[in-house]
Symmetry: C2
Subunit: 402 residues, 2 copies
Amino acid sequence: MSYQILTPQTLPEYLLSIPAIRDFFGDDAIEAEEIGDGNLNYVFVVRSAEHPQKSLIVKQAVPYLRCAGEGYALSRERMTFEIRALQGYTCHAPKVYHADEAMSLVAMEHLKDHAILRKGLMEGVRYPLFADQIGDFLAETLFKTSSLYLPSDEKRRLIDRFNANTELCRLTEDFVFTFPYMENETNQIEPQCRAEAEALFKDVEFKRKILGLKYLFMNRTDALLHGDLHTGSIMVNEHETFVIDPEFAFVGPFGFDIGALFANLGSAYISHFYRSGDEAYRAWLLETIRQVWERFEAKFLELWRQTPSSALLTPGYLDAEALEPFRRDFMVEILRQSAGFAGCKMARRVFGIAGVEEIRGLEDPAERKEAMMRALATGRALVMAHDSIDSIDRIVEIVEKA
Amino acid sequence: MSYQILTPQTLPEYLLSIPAIRDFFGDDAIEAEEIGDGNLNYVFVVRSAEHPQKSLIVKQAVPYLRCAGEGYALSRERMTFEIRALQGYTCHAPKVYHADEAMSLVAMEHLKDHAILRKGLMEGVRYPLFADQIGDFLAETLFKTSSLYLPSDEKRRLIDRFNANTELCRLTEDFVFTFPYMENETNQIEPQCRAEAEALFKDVEFKRKILGLKYLFMNRTDALLHGDLHTGSIMVNEHETFVIDPEFAFVGPFGFDIGALFANLGSAYISHFYRSGDEAYRAWLLETIRQVWERFEAKFLELWRQTPSSALLTPGYLDAEALEPFRRDFMVEILRQSAGFAGCKMARRVFGIAGVEEIRGLEDPAERKEAMMRALATGRALVMAHDSIDSIDRIVEIVEKA
């Protein structure tokens, strides 16, 4: 079917032409309801008329930014990359029932009993399995799309499938690595923070380090990244963790997704000083940073040790024991990247276009400013120190000190 | 025209159907002669019957290794990447008159008065302009295909045009970074070197460093590389330098081509201890290594300073003065990569499948063995030291000490 924008009226007929969807709903009539929670895309819940608990989610991209209207063009090909990433995930992602790149549309599992992680963290909810589950997701996804696992030709094919996600990579290059550190019309600087913003814009040592991280972002093809793994791209409950919205997916540096997660947990940590004053919860947030890394590292190494042959490794080249020091250094390099990208991701939220709600939403202006300055100081410290960091303890210590 | 293998008999008719070729030869009749100097491809000289000095070279790839016969399959798509690289070169490469990806064929300038650099160096010839000209070629090619020059979307399109050169990248992964350092049937180990080879195969510290360089080779997209820039891929005379045969072209780490060149100049340096004993010539070879780097670095920085906007740099982000320390560190990083890859390229020639003639061709077995061990020691020293090298002097010193 050639591309057309679907509506709650036209969606059911389209869906019932798909065998996998008919299998899902059996002979039930279905109804579609648009739900307004997509900034970029149209999102629908599709339900059986007879058994409304039988439902799935349909997302369709339009050739503009949904929340800004048709005047703000953004190529709908972003859905192509979201589809390809979702189809590649082997755990902790919604099941895909149907995907149609030509229609920029995907039908997937409806996560009815899950909250957006950012909102849960703002409310002070603990998710006991989250750190381990997201650690597993990161290890599975990053390891199995790297040259440590794939053969050389498959790695090149993977790059081929994501290389054209130019527009969304460009958004990251601009809005994570550039504009938030210079005068730019897209920034959102409160008058009370003007002097601090100007000081940041003159901080050439920091900006040189950011430039190095931006270069890495553009010139490393370690693994398939989610590309925007903040706490708004994760749905959780007590038992389960799901990663959603990978439209920024591309093949980039190992540490970028891990860093995004550290940054958002760090923002939550800072905000709760003001939001709840709950020191036990803040300690849980710090512990979560540590545990995400430890689980990721353990799982990544476990997968690596189980992989005798890959683009990188030819059987017989080095034995298991001789490989261990290489693996150790490799994990430190991923940790350093993660620290650096975490720093960018925290710092860019302070004056850049997209702030995080847990900090920008603080109502008291003095508290809000203080929280922003703490986030900036933490981000800066991570960026400046990242290439000499050698343990997760050091990262936790930097976040804690803020 | 769909693919077919051309012969001296069928080539003229094909060529005269191409307007650019008819323009080149005017109304002259033309004759094609196969010349045997391609290992991989068929190479023809095509001449005007009336004015035989009016000539060009035609190269056609066949779906196997020409020198090994039809039994040794090698996809003819390698010519696609050679064509694309040649068309992208802006200096020090033969002029392309016609290229046909479907026919895996290219017609280009006939370099009649030039020698293969490797042969000239073996004979002790000095090329006074070579270092500067190849330095310019490297700077132009590497800078202008990097994120320091191209906008983000053009860089991704460049990656797209070369990403599928899987087969030849795989050859490098195997024959430069893997097989020469382990037991493998493709190695060529003289009985008199058996003990030394076995010692190398057990040298786990060295092999871990090689593994790190192999990882870099596979996971960096700095710039478009020639991919096989040894002294057999360069044609020279007193006045001119031409880079040929870029069938290994792909987007990879900055230092790979520079390293290949250092390695081959290093091999020539070692071989002349035995070949000519000419210390003044050996000093010229060392000086050439230094001058290639110095010219490359100066030219690369000059181009960079002239480029206000690129994927990496948004105007207004950092001023010229604040960028200089970043540029300095960046050049050191390229130098380190170059030293590491130079080391691999020297070491792999010792026991691996493709030795260099200047060393393997030494007739006296004791001298040959000594030269091989010196090449190995130099390669190993470069690999082990590469990530702390901070000047070209240090590289020259390592080569000199061998």
